[in-house]
Symmetry: C2
Subunit: 345 residues, 2 copies
DNA sequence: TTGTATGCGTTATCAT
DNA sequence: ATGATAACGCATACAA
């Protein structure tokens, strides 16, 4: 068989002269058999004469026949497709979550169709509009509030990534920012830091900032919003820019906590460019545990998250929803970060 | 509307007591209208009394009715699904290609279902077996030879990523390794290097090694296979291990070319651990142009590839195939890397 | 505004 | 070993 044969579409002429894809009927006619026999040949079932099978297959090849996945799906149940909505494929965090989703989905024999929302609420809704028609369940990161989600969901089960139970009534899997920051702040305070700033993400006040402020308070640190700078992007560049501003308003900080590792790395770069040694003059703590953190210099101390597991867990939640079971809530759906001490703090 | 209502499956009881998903028929019965009216209500068409519409929608909610995507697909043509097979989501190169594919697919209104083959030929075939049933076309990285691909493809159009025209008869988009290495080697030779090694990838001899050897020859360098070490993984760790071996067998090299940026970064780390300064004692050249390369120290000089464009191009090839046109061949489907000089070489 | 009839492409069941 | 027939769930043209 020449591969070329596969490449260009042969098709069947309609009475009106236009062309359409060949169906099982066309193949049956050409091979001079019934549709059922074609089905047997194509699907490699037994109960068919090898000679006729060959003849049918030849006809199928001639017409470039491919079974319609829709017609198949109609009659054979059980094909499950999950939609996965990711905010930013360029941030190494998300491909790793996606890998976990793919892995768990594959084990269950599910397919997953992917959508990059690029941190845009309009694109988020587009994703839901499309996927609610094409998927049996949706997993993803969404900024939109519950009502908006519900409106674009059309009743399709949804599992939210990284939303607290107080923030949504949908099923969710998340990260225990409070548990993470308890470790992280203890580490910084234990090293003698009292003036600690934060580089927050684009969405502004969220669980990570809240946990940061909470721990600062618990540790008796002099922290208010002036110790926090917003980053316009969840990227190294965003962290660099944010750190510029933070150092302008609070030049006296001795440590900084980054919303994520990318931002933290940006912070380190700006700090060093402005003549501060890391960690001696300024300690930097990240959040995520990207492998990137091991490669920079100094290596990034960070609150590590098991991103693959997060993805697998999301698939498990979908399975529960589909089975009519209660989704996991609380600690079971709530991953605690683990402090990984390297050299930046 | 409470979001909770959406979460757990209501269903319809069969005569035999088992449960099945509600169909448009069930909704029609419950609402006391025809199926057509249900269709109008659910799909938000006009020509329906607001009161009956509300009644129908309520019935649909009660039964947790969702239209079957298969039945829909049967009757409305035009839904296109592409399969995307990626070898390793943990390598930042591939998410970026995927982003390009997603972007271009979305513009065309296509969906893409993703599969991570984890560099495993058996999983590669599994991917084809599944996707050839569920997708209208497949894009991806495959190690298997044409015959194997064709056997598992069942006639579905395929666009290969990074395979030379001499290596496949399928449509493909690729990278012009020769053009890249011409620039790269000229840069190294221009800096006075004569003893240049290479850290090759897991698959062994391929276009990048071939181009490397070719350029070495053109520049009159003393290079044979002893100047090349294989890396067991396309990762930083793989590069570190490979570099150990290369420095053992060829301690006299003054420069090294890495199969990709991850391996090159690993090479830098091993070189420095063994007391060589980069780039003074040993220059390092990468291939891919990951943003990671800007973050390490020294920053990685590399042959940069427009990975997003690669992905978009692959989708364009699929479109051509589907339209019955000739796929792009040669330079148009063949991206040339661009030398980005930073500080590692 | 609403209902009836038909077809979409496939597989399963049951016959021959 | 092969064929006839009946679903599968939906949307669309057309009739009322």
């Amino acid at each position: 068989m020449r591969a070329d044969d596969q490449q260009w579409e042969t098709s069947v002429e309609r009475p009106d002269g236009t062309r359409r894809r060949a169906t099982i009927h066309d193949v049956a006619k050409l091979a001079g058999v019934s549709r059922q026999t074609v089905s047997r040949a194509v699907n490699d079932k037994g109960e068919i004469d090898p000679a006729t099978k060959e003849r049918v297959l030849e006809a199928a090849r001639l017409l470039d026949y491919r079974p319609s996945r829709f017609a198949r799906g109609m009659v054979q149940k059980g094909a499950v497709t999950a939609g996965l909505v990711i905010p930013d494929l360029m941030n190494p965090f998300f491909p790793e979550v996606a890998a976990g989703v793919l892995e768990a989905a594959e084990q269950r024999g599910w397919q997953v169709v992917m959508w990059d929302s690029r941190i845009d609420e309009a694109r988020e809704r587009d994703a839901l509009d499309v996927l609610s028609h094409q998927a049996d369940a949706i997993i993803g990161y969404f900024k939109s509030p519950d009502e908006v989600l519900a409106r674009h969901l059309g009743g399709v089960p949804l599992v939210l990534l990284e939303r607290g139970p107080q923030q949504t009534r949908f099923a969710a899997v998340g990260i225990d920012a409070a548990a993470g920051l308890e470790q992280g702040m203890a580490h910084l305070v234990g090293a003698g830091h009292r003036r600690i700033g934060m580089l927050d993400g684009v969405h502004g006040p969220g669980p990570r900032r809240q946990a940061f402020l909470e721990e600062a308070r618990r540790n008796g640190l002099p922290v208010d919003d002036s110790w926090i700078a917003l980053c316009a992007e969840h990227s190294v560049a965003g962290g660099e820019a944010g750190m510029e501003r933070l150092l302008d308003t609070r030049p006296d900080i001795t440590a900084v906590f980054g919303f994520n590792d990318l931002i933290a790395v940006g912070a380190m770069r700006t700090a060093r460019r402005r003549g501060r040694r890391v960690p001696d003059d300024l300690a930097v703590l990240g959040f995520d545990g990207l492998s990137l953190g091991e490669l920079v210099e100094p290596a990034l101390t960070t609150l590590h998250i098991d991103k693959r597991r997060l993805g697998r867990l999301a698939v498990e939640q979908v399975a529960r929803l589909r089975a009519g079971e209660e989704p996991l809530r609380g600690a079971d759906a709530w991953l605690a970060p683990e402090l990984v001490v390297r050299t930046s703090a």
